[in-house]
C-alpha cells in the first residue's frame, strides 16, 4: 500500500501526486515507469516516474484525466493509498554526454520528459526544450523544465503563451540551425510521430516513449506489443523508449483504440456511480 502524501491539480485535467514509496524511489531512474491500481476493482495502468526523491523516499506522478482509471486516481486525496503501486519498470533512458539534445514535450508529456532532461543536463549536454500545449492554462512545470534547459521554447496552439504553432516548427528550425546529437519526443502519439518525421530528413536519432496498453508490465502477456523496424517488441520490457524513426505509428494508434467502446461504457458507469446525470 503506497500512501499519497500530497495531491494537487496542476492545471485543469492534469494532476500531480507525491507518493511514499521508498523502495521504488531508491531504484528509480529517468525514463522508467510504474504500474498503478487505484482500487481492487481497478485496472493496472502505467504512469511514468515524473520525479523521485531518494532521501524523502517519494515518487511523483503526473497524470491527465481521460477515462475511468485516471478519474479514479484524481478522486484520491492525500492520506489515501493506492491499491497497487509497482515499479520501477522498463529500461531507463541512456544518459550520456551526447552534445546538444532537443527535448520535445507535448501536453502531459512534460512530466516524463523532465527527469530525462535533468539527467541529460547533469551529464553535460546542451539541453534545448520545446514545450507545447493547447493553451496557456494547460502549461505546467515550465519553470522546472526551464531550470534544466539551456534554451526553453514554449508553443501553444492558440498563441496564449509563447509562440503560436506546433512543436515541430521550432524543432525543424533548430535542426536547420545547429548540430544536434539526439532528439527526445514525449507526448501524444501524433506529436511523437510528427516530431520523428521532422527529424528524419536530418538523420538525427529521435527517441520516443511509447504508451501502449499494458497489464502486467513484466513481459508476461504480450499485450503491449509494438512494431519497431518490422520486429515485434514488448513496450514494457523492451522499451518504453524506442527509435521514433522505426515505429509503426498506425499500428500503435490502432492498438490503443482496441477498447474504445468498453472504455466509454466503463466511464459512463463511473459517472453514474458518482451520481452524474448522463
Amino acid at each position: 500500500m503506497s500512501q499519497i502524501l500530497s495531491m494537487r491539480e496542476l492545471v485543469p485535467t492534469i494532476y500531480e501526486a507525491v507518493v511514499k514509496a521508498p523502495e521504488i524511489a531508491k531504484k528509480a531512474k529517468a525514463g522508467e515507469f510504474l504500474v498503478v491500481m487505484p482500487d481492487e476493482k481497478g485496472e493496472r495502468i502505467p504512469l511514468t516516474i515524473a520525479d523521485f526523491d531518494r532521501d524523502e523516499g517519494t515518487i511523483t506522478i503526473v497524470f491527465m484525466t481521460i477515462g475511468t482509471s485516471t478519474y479514479k486516481l484524481a478522486d484520491m486525496k492525500a492520506g489515501d493509498s493506492y491499491y497497487a503501486f509497482v515499479g520501477p519498470l522498463g529500461h531507463s533512458s541512456e544518459i550520456e554526454n551526447y552534445g546538444t539534445v532537443i527535448m520535445v514535450a507535448g501536453g502531459v508529456g512534460t512530466a516524463p520528459i523532465y527527469p530525462i532532461a535533468r539527467a541529460l543536463k547533469e551529464a553535460g549536454n546542451k539541453v534545448i526544450s520545446i514545450q507545447g500545449s493547447r493553451s496557456k492554462e494547460l502549461l505546467f512545470w515550465e519553470d522546472r523544465l526551464a531550470s534544466v534547459s539551456d534554451e526553453h521554447i514554449i508553443m501553444t496552439d492558440d498563441g496564449t503563451a509563447g509562440r503560436k504553432g506546433l512543436v515541430t516548427e521550432p524543432l525543424k528550425e533548430i535542426l536547420e540551425r545547429e548540430e544536434v546529437a539526439q532528439v527526445y519526443a514525449i507526448g501524444p502519439v501524433p506529436m511523437m510521430k510528427f516530431s520523428s518525421l521532422t527529424s528524419k530528413p536530418f538523420g538525427v536519432k529521435t527517441i520516443v516513449s511509447l504508451n501502449s496498453i499494458m497489464i502486467d508490465a513484466t513481459g508476461m502477456c504480450g499485450g503491449c506489443r509494438v512494431n519497431i523496424g518490422n520486429e515485434t517488441k514488448f513496450t514494457c520490457v523492451d522499451g518504453p523508449e524506442f527509435d521514433g524513426h522505426l515505429v509503426d505509428w498506425n499500428l500503435l494508434m490502432s492498438r490503443q483504440k482496441i477498447y474504445t467502446h468498453e472504455e466509454k461504457c466503463s466511464f459512463d458507469l463511473y459517472l453514474e456511480n458518482k451520481g452524474v446525470k448522463l
Binding site: 497497487a84 520501477p88 519498470l89 513481459g219 504480450g222 509494438v226 472504455e263 466503463s266
Partner: protein
Amino acid sequence: MNEKKPRRKDRVPMPEQDPKVRATNFKEVPLGYTPEMAMEEAERCVQCKVPSCVCGCPVNVHIPAFIKLVAEGKFAEAAREIKKTNALPAICGRVCPQEVQCEEQCVFNKMGRPIAIGRLERFVADYERNNDLIEYPAQVEKNGKKVAIVGAGPSGLTAAGDLEQYGYEVTIFEAFHKPGGVLMYGIPEFRLPKDIVEKEVDYLVHMGVELKLNEIVGKTVTIDELLGERGYDAVFIGVGAGLPKFLGIPGENFGGVYSANEYLTRSNLMKAYLFPEYDTPIVKGKNVCVVGGGNVAMDAARTALRLGGNVSIVYRRAREQMPARQEEIHHAEEEGVKLCLLTNPVEILGNEDNMVNGLKCVKMELGEPDESGRSRPVVIPDSEHVIVADLFINSIGAGANPLLTLSTPGLELNKWGYIEADEWGKTSKDKVWAGGDIVTGMATVIEAMGAGKNAAMDIHEKLMGIMKPTDTSPEALPDDMECQLPPKRQDPTT
C-alpha cells in the same frame, strides 16, 4: 446398523452443472461429492498392502490412509492425513491430472475404474474448510534465519509453508497484486474458485509467512540485494514460466489477437469477465479461434465460450495427440466448443481498423513420426481456407521470462532460459534455490509443489545442518518397498 452394503463396482459419479447452464456462467463445473457419496466411493478402496497409487503421486500423499478415514466418516482427520505431505489438497484435488498420476497407478485402473482419489481429496479439503475445522500447526520456535521466496505460485507457497514450519522467518515477494501464480491468473474460476486459493494463502499468512505483494524481484529489489543488505540467508526462486509464445505468422499484432496469458490474466486476475463492474476490459468475440491443444487452450476456449462466443479450437495434429486432459476436452466439447483438428493457421487477417477478422488456415495430415515419437503433421497442398474470427487466442505454450534471470549474475540457465538446478533445486549461485516451471518448463501444480518441498529440505540441511531423509521410499509404503515408476511429466509441447 452393522449391515454393510455390498461394495460398489464403478466410481461414484460427481454431480456437475448442466453443460447448457454452465456454458453461461463462471461458477465451478463439478459440484463435489456429498458425505454419503464420498463414503461410498471410499469403501471401494481395498487398502492395498503395497499401494501403488502412492507412487503415482509426486508428493506421495498417504492415499490409503486418508481414504480409510473417509470411509469411516472422519473427514477432517482425512484432510489432516493428506496435509502431512500436501499442503494444498483443495487445489490438487481439483487440478491434478490424476489420470496420469495417482489414479493411473491404482490397481483398479486396469479395469478402467480407479478409485476417485482426486474427488475424495477435494471433498475432504472442502469439508474441512467449509466447516471451519482447519487446524493451524503450533507455533514453532524461530531459528533466527531468514529466507526470501520469489513468486507466490504453488512452488513458492509450498517452500514458504515448509520453511516456516522448520523455524525460518519467511517472506514471499510477489510481482502481482494477488498471490497464487497460475492458480490465480491462469486457471479460470469455473475450474478453481479463487476464494479457495485465497483461503490456502491465508493459511500460510496465519502461520506467520510474510507476504509482500507488488514487489518485482529484479526490478524493485534484486536477488543480490536480498542476500546482501536485506540480510536473507537463502532465496528460493519460483517465478514460473511466464513468457507468451506467438506463432510468428503475419497479422499477429492486430487488435483482438491475444496470447493465452493476456486473455486469461485479463479474465481471471483482473476479473474482466465481470466488466464493467471491474474496470479491465476484454474483447468479447462472436467467433473465437483458439490455437493449441493443451490445457491452457481449453481454459481459454471455455472462458471465451462463457463470454458469449462461438468457439473453435484449431489444432494441427489429431485429437489423440492433444496434450490436454481428456476430461477438459470432454468438458469443452460438452459445452459447445468445436474442434478443428489437423488445421494450422498461416496468416491472421484484419480489417481496415487493424482488428482481426479472419484466419487463413491450411489442412494437415499426419506423416512420419518426429523426435517425440508423435506423427508429424504435414501440410496438404492447396488446402488453404479462411475461418471467420473476431478474436484469436494464441495458446501454443510458454517460455521462461528473462526479467529476473537477466538481473541475477551468476545464475546458470539452460539454452531455453530456464534455471539450471539439481534435483533439490540448488542453482549454480550461492544461497539460491529454484523450482517449479522456471526450472522444468510448464509442468503441473503438484510437481511445482514437490519442487518447493525438496528445496525447503535442502535449504534446511545447508543452513541448519538438519539432514534430509536419506530414505527415499514414501512413508506410506512398507519399509522395504520403493516406487519403481519413472518420474512423470506432462508433455509441454503442443
